[in-house]
Symmetry: none
Subunit: 179 residues, 2 copies
């Protein structure tokens, strides 16, 4: 019965150190440490004491609802390499297809280019994180440098390619999700 992570998360949300929580519950910090790593399991009465100090009922504690993730980090990234095309796509928000916006980070090597995307409903916004790119929308070509951004409706064919020798990185957001 793995409850350690939940206790730790509650404690951190409540802004307490293990020692502070231990003092409030009249336990030891060593024990709190062991609980949080599932090295031991508290009695039901002790669990209730702990949760009382953390402003949570046992009922809520054993709720199976998964908290919605708000912050995403390096370990959340899904990478797709297209080495022959000279680019790599990093999906930085997993399951973003279920939402309204889908952000990716596009990495273009020298001469790297993503295939032209056919017209479709929606919009895309991009911000050049590093390097510079050539953005093609319909018949128009634009050079976009680091720190600059772009924003267009996707009803025309569009594509992006690296315009320099250095690797280029673009934060690229599509709504609705299409990547």
């Amino acid at each position: 019965m793995q409850i350690g992570n939940k206790i730790k998360r509650l404690r951190l949300e409540y802004g307490l150190t293990q020692e502070e929580l231990a003092d409030r519950c009249e336990l030891t910090k060593g024990y709190i440490s062991q609980l949080e790593r599932d090295l031991t399991s508290p009695s039901i009465a002790t669990l209730k004491d702990i949760l009382d100090c953390l402003g949570c009922s046992i009922h809520e504690f054993f709720s199976e609802k998964k908290p919605e993730q708000i912050v995403f980090k390096a370990q959340d990234v899904f990478v797709k390499d297209a080495e022959e095309k000279g680019y790599r796509i990093k999906w930085i928000v997993p399951n973003a297809q279920k939402m309204e916006m889908e952000p990716i980070i596009l990495e273009l090597m020298e001469n790297g280019e993503v295939e032209e995307d056919d017209p479709h409903q929606g919009e895309e916004f991009g911000y050049v994180l590093s390097g510079s790119i050539i953005l093609t929308v319909g018949k128009e070509r634009h050079k976009v440098k680091k720190g600059e951004c772009f924003h267009y409706k996707t009803n025309l064919p569009h594509s992006i390619k690296n315009s320099g020798k250095k690797k280029a990185q673009v934060l690229w957001i599509s709504t609705p999700p299409t990547f």
Copy 2:
């Protein structure tokens, strides 16, 4: 932390003896007996095993929702005396105003009478438990004896008074609740 009664109730609802439950959980019937009387408390893991066998999650188990009361007894009664008017009202279902029917028991002393009730939307039903009454609905007067009942729409003024020397008791139900 008193959980014994909840475990016992679940077991009985599931139709198991203590021995059957013990066998399913790989515990002893003696231990189940002790748990149900709060003589001891299970580890969280053991509690989960038990609840798995009883088709209940820990989450539900620790729900604080009060089971809806179905049967009401003497101790549930709320009494209002109107001694100068010679009657007493007993609300026999607490919080019935939150439901569709509101039952009371009206007790009328000799010469006791409830004030005329103004017309309103709804219906009332009554059953004379003891003694006899005069029921007035609009301009009509009815004598209703023990064992007889009445049922009318409340769009006319209505009232009840005792018609004899003995105490009268009426089970009186209004929908929607108005008493």
